[in-house]
Symmetry: C2
Subunit: 324 residues, 2 copies
């Protein structure tokens, strides 16, 4: 261990991802530990400190090789103080994450939310590389987002910026969303939303491949829908069109405001690849201003599960630069 | 003239507004000159230089009292180089505005677009005072916008950020917009849009005050609509509701992405005041995330026609700070 590295940490509800990352954004080593949610998550900071210590020993180095820690966590966070108001999946409530982790590790810690650090990772070395105006959308169980403008992640006045999943796509008659509203983009374009729409539509088109699949497995996944669409199934294509229409419209409307250079689509649903990307882009071009569409490129996220730890390292790096 | 002042300049199609502004954002003196659009606008920079020179003499000072110039212009601008690609109303095409004005005045010049400097003015000393995350919307003949995030105006990758007027409100069946799309917010919430909707609706409700007005004056203004709504006219209220629905939905969707502290509504239509503001806010709260709505306050713009010159001065001030 001769070089100086950043530590990127990405805390999720079941695992914590860690990595040592070079100053150029390359992962030296990465590993995971389970998220210990017992006793309201009070052991997590100690677990992270031990994990870092052990990895240093394994690599025959020591903490002097590490510059600082950049960390992403779910929930409501005060980014300046690294204080977690609430993170339901972890158990934290009013938890001084930055302070505790700095105490345990002796390293400086910078905290942001998990969707934001994934966006920062893609900006640094992933699909968004080189762009300082970027929209990142994660289509997973829910729909997450991160907005980068002038090279900075946007937090807004109380940390809520980037909540693209709660863009209201259907002002009237939409499905209920976990946030309490109805008709959010998340109810349509998440894996869950795509599955719901497909199941609702199966009755309309009894000849669809999807009907047989639904009878066999008693459910439909978003992968089923994209596979059937690729095979030319009419119903599946109508679902893909509906989803792409709402994604393209929402992203165009945000882009008429933000004029991004790249839009990066990640998460499980993005594995559908070009079928999805081309369909979204077709709708996007209908609703974006000509010059906005010209300036914008669509990309599938490339870093997968590493986006968070790389973005964490970027965050740590920015903080070192900023405080120098 | 003992103090040091900035010069704010706001170039419009018919007049150029100028002001000397203190380092605290107070206007010392303001005045206007006509916009000379002859010969593709080639005399404009000289006109501005002479106007500044004469005003200095009038105040018994000289150019040494002036720090620098911040200027807003319509059209497509490269903000870094101050180069105007095209400004149709002025006649400029490939015009090096910053370079020419620096040559004529001997002062350093910073250029941005006119909607943006108005937003910066409201942020500095107007309705947005103190907020570093701000949405500004100008409801005039068209619908303009400016977005401030982390205290910076957003330009995006090719200067198109803040085009809130071209948010697509009606994906299908909307009215044609000057931009070439259909159903833009501008076709609904501008003075022109409100007038169009009211005229279209008059046939539906022959008892409306607006019908008599339309017969008398052969047109309806947005002021007519708001006056009739305040007087309880059913048709006028349905127009106000339709306009507010689309404004509230668009602003909520942008706010779910940007999480602003304030939304400032300006322009001629904003003279309707609380009737308009309350109606927009009611719709906004339906479509914004709870925490986004909690963090956000609606305000009518307070600087009127002075917003541009004050914002110009702010721009000049930032540039001095940045280059020091």
């Amino acid at each position: 261990m001769l070089d100086k590295w950043y530590v990127g940490v990405d805390i999720g509800g079941t695992t914590i991802k860690l990595a040592f990352v070079t100053t150029e954004g390359e992962i030296v080593t990465k590993w995971e530990i389970p998220t210990n949610t017992s006793e309201d998550g009070k052991h997590i900071t100690k677990d992270i400190a031990i994990a870092i210590e052990e990895k240093c020993q394994e690599l025959e180095g020591n903490k002097a090789n590490l510059i600082s820690i950049g960390l992403g966590a779910p929930g409501f966070i005060n980014m300046e103080t690294g204080f977690i108001y609430q993170a339901v999946n972890i158990g934290w409530k009013d938890f001084p994450l930055k302070e505790e982790l700095e105490k345990e590790t002796g390293l400086s810690v910078t905290v942001d939310n998990d969707a934001n650090i994934a966006a920062l990772g893609e900006m640094w070395t992933g699909a968004g590389e080189g762009a300082s105006n970027l929209l990142c959308v994660t289509l997973g169980t829910g729909v997450g987002g991160g907005i980068i403008a002038n090279g900075q992640i946007l937090h807004g006045v109380n940390g809520m910026a980037g909540e693209i999943g709660h863009y209201t796509s259907l002002a009237e008659g939409g499905a209920p969303c976990n946030c309490g509203k109805t008709g959010c983009l998340e109810t349509i374009a998440s894996a869950t939303g795509i599955s719901r729409i497909a199941i609702e539509k199966v009755a309309e088109e009894p000849t669809s491949i999807l009907q047989a699949k639904l009878y066999e497995f008693n459910t439909l996944t978003s992968k089923d829908v994209f596979d059937a669409a690729a095979a030319g199934d009419k119903l599946a294509n109508s679902v893909v069109n509906e989803v792409s229409f709402h994604l393209g419209l929402a992203l165009a409307n945000l882009s008429n405001g933000l004029n991004p250079e790249k839009i990066v689509i990640g998460g499980g649903v993005s594995k559908a690849g070009d079928v999805l990307l081309n369909a979204i882009e077709r709708q996007f071009k209908r609703f974006a201003l000509g010059r906005v569409a010209e300036g914008c490129e669509f990309k599938i996220a490339t870093l997968g599960n590493d986006a968070g730890v790389i973005g964490g390292a970027w965050l740590a790096k920015q903080n070192v630069v900023a405080t120098k």
